[in-house]
Subunit: 276 residues, 2 copies
């Protein structure tokens, strides 16, 4: 057997996001693929991505992918809806290794789940304005009607820690009211912060609406992708450390947030200057 | 008379902020110094600054100041509380031209206005956590008690346009409640977005509390600084354009916001890559 292919299996998976949101994706990978190592990068110096332009997001994503490549990763997960929407298709042809975003897996599942063909998508301005979910859903279900709604206050509310707060409930009701009349039966949580508001959104939307969490679907998609490329870590060669975290700013704050949502305790997040 | 000094008078003033907030400062300069030209830079690709670290803010501020110097400005206004708090004292010794921030002018006025010696400061996490207002107030009034409160949701609420919204009122009441028991008589609006919430904050705090808007005081301070350095534009040589705007991202969105709060119509905002 080719030694280099064999070694590649033990390489880590690169996961990146604009900040802490992508940790909900890393968490799913840890749960579903417990033998895989992860190198996570959070672009906390330039967060948020949701209000920035396509060109800027592509430039930032390229810088981060080069950094992850320099760390020897075997595959890359774009754990940010805005970067998946704006940068993934642009960058994929330049890549030598498998890369997966969060949009396609979520779109595929939503397209299959809906019974009445009416799907809602909530996300940042960038993600919703890109209409990428509509495009991806139509590949699987061309008849589906897709209704988008940007929810720019959800990210700062989550980062403020007001997860079950009356203010957040009021904001959520306001944002989600546009779906009340449109009779959707499936709603995509199209931003990696939103799974942290899942139970609140479920209560507002009611039992009859399926909530799709792309983080879960992305970990499933990653598993298939690693199998296709014969890159699954079979765990025969245990290597430390399992999980490494890099950020472009405010490492201590990142660490505290990470420790509040990850299943494992992280010891440190390393600071790097991604622009250079 | 020295020709180069004379020419310098007609040079523009460089004004910068993390994004659109500093436009409230630019607006005051336009009102109080209508003969001065302005080159404004909004770092919209890396907004917000309020949650970022001191080191990052210093690095970003240096990049922007180099850009403004390359445009031939005669003085610089740091129209961002976080950058004033973290970067101004660090960068001033490196500068050949006058530079002024928004913290000192606001602190000076608040120190003089208070009757009971109890002053509140609201701002971003960065500004409040730096205790820079306390330090500056104590230079003028060493006995004053200064109480800070970070209000991280105010900026996204302003940028969402929910200026007189019940949600914003509820958030403001929550943030400001910490001042109810402490009997302050003066409150500094320590973030350039906050003057846009001024009437709401006034209503919650009541008549007995003076609101200090550092944008106004900064324009006054700039006027004195230009006089000291013999740099006042006497308007004898009219030069176009009066006002120029540069941003690091999303120029169209910036232009629309600017046109909603500035006294003059701006035609365009130019996009530049500030990192390079």
């Amino acid at each position: 057997m080719d030694q280099s292919v064999e070694n590649k299996k033990y390489a880590p998976i690169g996961v990146f996001d604009s900040g802490v949101g992508g940790l909900t994706v890393a968490r799913e990978i840890m749960r579903q693929l417990p033998r895989e190592r992860i190198i996570y990068f959070g672009d906390t110096a330039r967060v948020p991505y949701g209000s920035k332009s396509r060109e800027t997001i592509i430039r930032y994503s390229r810088q981060i992918i080069h950094f992850l490549e320099s760390k020897g990763v075997k595959a890359i997960v774009v754990a940010c809806n805005t970067a998946s929407a704006f940068a993934l298709e642009e960058i994929r042809p330049e890549m030598k290794m498998p890369i997966i975003g969060v949009v396609k897996p979520g779109a595929r599942v939503a397209a299959g789940l809906t019974r009445n063909g009416r799907i809602g998508v909530i996300g940042t301005e960038g993600t919703v304005g890109s209409h990428i979910y509509t495009e991806m859903i139509h590949r699987h279900n061309p008849q589906a009607e897709v209704l988008g709604k940007a929810c720019p206050l959800f990210v700062p509310l989550v980062e403020e820690g007001w997860l079950k707060d009356p203010v957040t409930i009021e904001v959520a009701k306001r944002y989600l009211s546009s779906f009340q009349e449109s009779d959707i039966d499936t709603l995509i949580l199209g931003c990696t912060h939103y799974p942290l508001l899942r139970s609140m959104i479920h209560e507002i939307m009611g039992e009859q609406v399926n909530l799709v969490n792309p983080a879960y679907e992305t970990a499933q998609g990653l598993k298939r992708l690693l199998e296709q490329h014969d890159l699954v870590n079979d765990g025969q060669e245990a290597r430390e450390p399992m999980y490494q975290f890099y950020v472009s700013d405010a490492a201590e704050k990142f660490k505290n947030f990470a420790n509040s949502i990850l299943p494992c305790e992280i010891e440190k997040a390393r600071l790097i200057h991604i622009e250079e």
